[in-house]
Symmetry: C2
Subunit: 327 residues, 2 copies
């Protein structure tokens, strides 16, 4: 499970908590803080928990940074983390900081819940539909962006992608990684979700397999569609790394993979786009739950859904409505 659930001595309550920490993967320290926080909270959201009682922040300052770098970078990371926590309706009270060769940022999210506040991730049944709430390809986008400064690596992918594509994909990846899965967690209750997990280091297939293993019914998950940040499927192929189309490319702070009753899935995907939840939420039906032996697979030639970066569509909209092009 993404979080641990501990029954408490007090009136049917459970302690649910999770921890995660890692190394910066984007250059913007503020966004990195937001991503780290979204990533920790995501384990609670995967259980349909929308409220977190407390967060602790785990931080290591790099010994290789000079005083000036420390004073510039660390407060921004901390602010990003705190802002995301606030957006999640919680706050950061406590934590610990050390000095280390590398920067580390992470946290602990804890909540005390009544039984109806969380959804145990083991109730998928044949006939359910799999929904994913963020596009894949964050790791590919982050690495492709680093390769802009690495001619050897860049040469391998420059035939399939432009520098502008990579910039837009990187922005889109950052946006997605920093976005909380909180709205999706709330809608899991509205639409009667049967199980969910969040997509991180093991890729979509790895996490789908983990989730399938936990199910009480004899089920298997079959993935037909892969929503991927535009051009990143091609980059993954051209680079010969990642395995994005095989579902093994790591994601950071990815979306929720949710098993929903068939009749609810389309409504879930429509509802999450409603402006009342703020901008940028998306969801796709990516597969089905069938009778099986607790495994997950991607079909031979999955449909790739190229998810356009917001930057691109914004640019597109702007030019459509600019005076020059209006007749």
């Amino acid at each position: 499970m993404d979080s641990c659930v501990i029954p408490l001595r007090h009136g049917g309550l459970s302690l649910v908590q999770t921890t995660d920490f890692f190394y910066p993967l984007v250059e913007d320290p503020y966004m990195m803080g937001r991503i780290a926080c979204a990533n920790v909270l995501s384990d609670l959201y995967a259980m349909g928990i929308t409220d977190c009682d407390n967060m602790l922040m785990l931080l290591s300052i790099s010994q290789k940074m000079n005083e000036e770098e420390r004073e510039k970078i660390m407060p921004l990371m901390v602010k990003g983390f705190r802002d995301a926590a606030e957006e999640g309706g919680t706050s950061v009270t406590g934590g610990h900081t050390v000095i280390n060769p590398w920067i580390i940022i992470g946290g602990v999210a804890t909540v005390v819940c009544q039984p109806n506040e969380f959804i145990m991730p083991d109730n998928a049944v044949p006939g359910d539909v799999l929904v994913l709430t963020k596009p894949l390809g964050t790791q590919v986008a982050v690495n492709a962006h680093q390769w802009l400064d690495n001619p050897e690596r860049w040469n391998k992918i420059k035939l399939v992608v432009s520098k502008e594509d990579v910039e837009l994909a990187y922005q889109e990846a950052m946006f997605n990684m920093a976005m909380l899965n909180r709205t999706a967690a709330g809608l899991m209750h509205t639409f009667n979700a049967h199980a969910a997990t969040d997509i991180t280091g093991f890729g979509i297939l790895g996490h789908a397999q983990n989730l399938a293993k936990q199910q009480k019914s004899e089920v298997s998950f079959v993935i037909h569609n892969l929503p991927i940040i535009a051009k990143m499927a091609a980059v993954s192929k051209a680079s010969g790394r990642f395995g994005l189309l095989q579902g093994t490319s790591a994601e950071t702070s990815g979306g929720l993979l949710i098993c929903l009753p068939r009749e609810q899935a389309a409504r879930f995907c429509a509802e999450i786009k409603s402006p009342k939840y703020g901008e940028g939420h998306q969801a796709w039906i990516i597969g089905i739950v069938e009778k099986g032996n607790q495994t997950a697979r991607i079909i031979d030639k999955p449909r790739i859904i190229e998810v356009m970066p917001r930057g691109a569509s914004l640019h597109h909209d702007n030019s459509n409505t600019s005076p020059e092009t209006t007749s």
Copy 2:
């Protein structure tokens, strides 16, 4: 405060939690695991909390270790951590591991409490007495032990200490760092403790000052006695580092510093030595609480209490009862 206390939505309950992580400081990985766990739990114990609902373990494996080293060392550290958690009546459910240049071990301790289960550390009053539950000098002992292999450093202290003294002090330090402050936490309730903290990185004086600052009454803490692992006061002086006699030498997983009503302090110190709590518990009256302005100090010439290592007394007992010396 050593732990954060978050009021919950549920019937007067509070969430109390704390986190700590650091780098190995002793060579024995099993003991290191125990020390890390004792160190995390100590923040709860300082609030008089004797039961922990859940622990998470935070771990980084050093990238410099080869496969064999990893497989030998990490399971021992994890076992030490788990064993100490079990001794504390709790268990480790969850955590996170990364690869890093250095080994890191730490954890998160969380409990959901009723108000009578914890003692807010702000009720010291003039006339109270300060009690300390472990001897000082852990850092000095650990470093002196490392200096056995460093002739330059060793030369500075060899006039005041023998190799055997250092070995015994190191064993004593390990024993103390790995010992839980749980018994002391329980006795804080029995003897009506007014406030407490645990002694770690800021040394006895730093933590005494922090505790003094938090008091609601106008008080100051005055420390008269320093119980120190035998010979480590001399080592601290000879080395010209540490500041052990000034109260600024860091401790790891140190004892609790407890403000007790005067008439209870001696009883506390007697009770904690009772065999019913297992071996090795000690406590000393080290100072007083007087009217003042939220500060703490050590008197000019504090009394040094040389705390004999158990190894030494064991050795001593053995020779006393051995056939050769019995007349």
